[in-house]
Symmetry: C2
Subunit: 398 residues, 2 copies
């Protein structure tokens, strides 16, 4: 089996596997590093690739869980990958695929990191979890905490969709609304986790165990496509999903299972785009978003007020991959949500639609190579923010 430990992403300081969130030396966020042992190599991935479609736990040797621990699972992962017919203009033999992370037990990609984090909470003997959430993390945290029998307290900012709030409560979580934006909820959750000795599941880079769950998207994509996509387009708040996916591909490359890496595109909403701003200005680091946060894409509306370094970490992954960061206007989101539903049969939440609109923009601006294979990650299901969409439909002529 592979052994693992948290390592500082910035200064390289290593720690024992324990509940830890930041480097005690430099305050940086952490990453999990594995001593890839004999299990690893092409021989690890090849048999798995023949059985596309089951849950994330078939990759458990590459997840930060000790052997013989029982996984806290609702069957997350193994999500569909479907090819679009009507989104991109047919040009240069390019193909756009959708990875439907909406088809997960709580209808968002967050089930992957939360299943891993909740299993880690149990392995560390903790009986309480806490998180900040714009909605999807909270719903997943509440569900997996219920499954694990752990107490769960969630801090959400104002403006979190009613459906998501109701779902968290139905799973039995205790819900608190925090005045302000996601960054404000982040801060309260951080304080409360410390005070109560609870595991903090906030899904920025806060919890290094959670981030590992995102890697499984990469393994599945390589198996489902039978190759490495040229571009992977990911909606990003702080961006751990984007980084996690890239890390998964790097592991497969290290194992000799693949011989190239994808380029990563990170997408934000124009009304809250700190990472995009830094990318376009060629800045080394991301700054907090100081303008008012104005977007309907609530799931990625993160101004990174007190943890801009999380944005910098994502920015560095985008750059390493020779990728891009781009922002989409809210009006485009309604348009592409409708297009996606009516022409492909996929109902995506507004935050997710950014990744589809971005594919079209990238094609129009000539960013996509001939014969390019592009994957957009549909991070959450449209039934999770129907009220936002219904209100829009009622209030406007489509």
């Amino acid at each position: 089996m592979n052994t693992f430990r948290p390592v500082c992403w910035y200064c390289g300081e290593t720690y024992e596997a324990e509940p830890i969130y930041t480097c005690r030396r430099c305050k940086g966020t952490l990453d999990i590093r594995y001593e890839y042992k004999e299990i690893f190599g092409k021989a690890y991935f090849e048999p798995l690739s023949a059985s596309a479609g089951s849950d994330i736990w078939r990759f458990r040797e590459l997840l930060p869980i000790w052997p013989n621990r029982k996984a806290v699972t609702l069957g997350e992962g193994g999500t569909p990958l479907i090819r679009t017919h009507n989104i991109l203009n047919i040009a240069n033999n390019q193909s756009l695929w959708l990875k439907l992370e909406s088809v997960n037990p709580t209808l968002a990609f967050k089930d992957r990191p939360l299943a891993v984090a909740m299993t880690a909470a149990a392995q560390f003997g903790l009986n309480e979890v806490v998180c900040a959430s714009t909605g999807n993390t909270g719903v997943a945290a509440a569900a997996y905490a219920a499954r694990a029998g752990l107490r769960c307290t969630i801090y959400v900012p104002e403006g979190t969709p009613e459906e998501k709030r109701a779902a968290m409560e139905q799973y039995g979580a205790v819900l608190h609304t925090v005045k302000g934006h996601y960054s404000d909820a982040y801060k309260v959750a951080e304080e409360m986790a410390l005070e109560r000795q609870a595991f903090n599941l906030t899904s920025t880079y806060m919890n290094p165990y959670a981030v590992e769950g995102n890697k499984t998207v990469a393994y599945e994509l390589a198996f489902q496509l039978g190759k490495v996509p040229d571009w992977i387009i990911v909606p990003i708040g702080a961006g751990p999903l984007l980084s996690g996916i890239y890390k998964g591909f790097k592991e497969m490359q290290l194992a000799g299972f693949i011989d190239k890496l994808p380029r990563m595109a990170g997408v934000q909403a124009e009304g809250c785009a700190p990472i995009v701003k830094a990318f376009h200005n060629g800045e080394a680091g991301v700054q907090p978003w100081s303008d008012p946060v104005q977007t309907i894409a609530s799931g990625i509306a993160d101004p990174l007020l007190t943890y801009p370094a999380d944005g910098t970490r994502t920015l560095s992954v985008i750059r390493e991959s020779k990728g891009i960061a781009l922002a989409i206007a809210d009006a485009e989101l309604h348009r592409y949500r409708k297009l996606l539903a009516e022409r492909e049969g996929v109902l995506a939440e507004l935050s997710s639609v950014t990744a589809v609109a971005a594919a079209a923009h990238m094609q129009q601006t000539g960013l996509l190579e001939q014969n390019a294979t592009i994957v957009s990650i549909v991070t959450g299901h449209g039934l999770k923010d129907m009220s936002a969409a219904i209100n829009h439909t009622k209030g406007s002529v489509l």
Copy 2:
């Protein structure tokens, strides 16, 4: 490859593969029969069983689709099977599993039959589809019609949850509300389909191609469990899901892949239970439900007013399997919905919860054998009828 044709369930008259709904001789509903050829046998199922979890199209030789036709798919099927820890009393080594059909592209089991039916519509060269629906069928029909590029008109009864209506419209379907119950919508859809030469996707036994999609639940269950469950508990309106699952197991038995069959339990809500009534009275046939329809389980509230023979067909399958039919009170549904969410992390729509409440009832009344393996089908996701549940939560002390 296997050839197939529609055959009358009642009188055995056979037809060519075409859009046909009832026997021209006796008006009975149809079944699809296959000439199982050399592809069939243990050698068919064994390799598939090693790759649990992908979509329904790996079973395409057992679906009524001609070779080389492109499947209309959103990645349906390959749903999780998870074991419950806290629903049944721990007794006699019994285990209760949940098949999460809620984790499908439109969040209900209907994606399986609708994907098959929409592919059949395309193979027959039809460009328009119609259906009656209490919600889930309509949402799936709208999504798959969008995916296939076919026009879709849906007739729903009053009382269909707002989330489901909105989803149908977002997928671009034309929606009509019919005064009365599901049976009334059924009648209008039947007339309109004839008038417009549209494929009727109403998911009773109306469309024999659709029903076949339900068989794939059986194959997956056998693979996931590595054995045949003793009991399968299914929420039923008219009951094609229950019959379809049983048929799938019979095919596996015929192939020599399994050597026993499960017992089938059909569950209805007390406020609309025509099949349960006939079962308990030992009647040969099901009668239309003449009392007022009074239940919050909208997905299975079918009084079978003009097609009681559909209920009789399901009743005969239940009896053939040495199964049972039972009814659950609405108050139990709220209780078990809460229990399921808070203790297992599974949010199920109210109609689905009947199958979980039924498992507990069957245990309490001594119906479950020692060491019994029980599977309850969670037919739809709780996020599809949140408003019903939210209204309940707001209006009562839990």
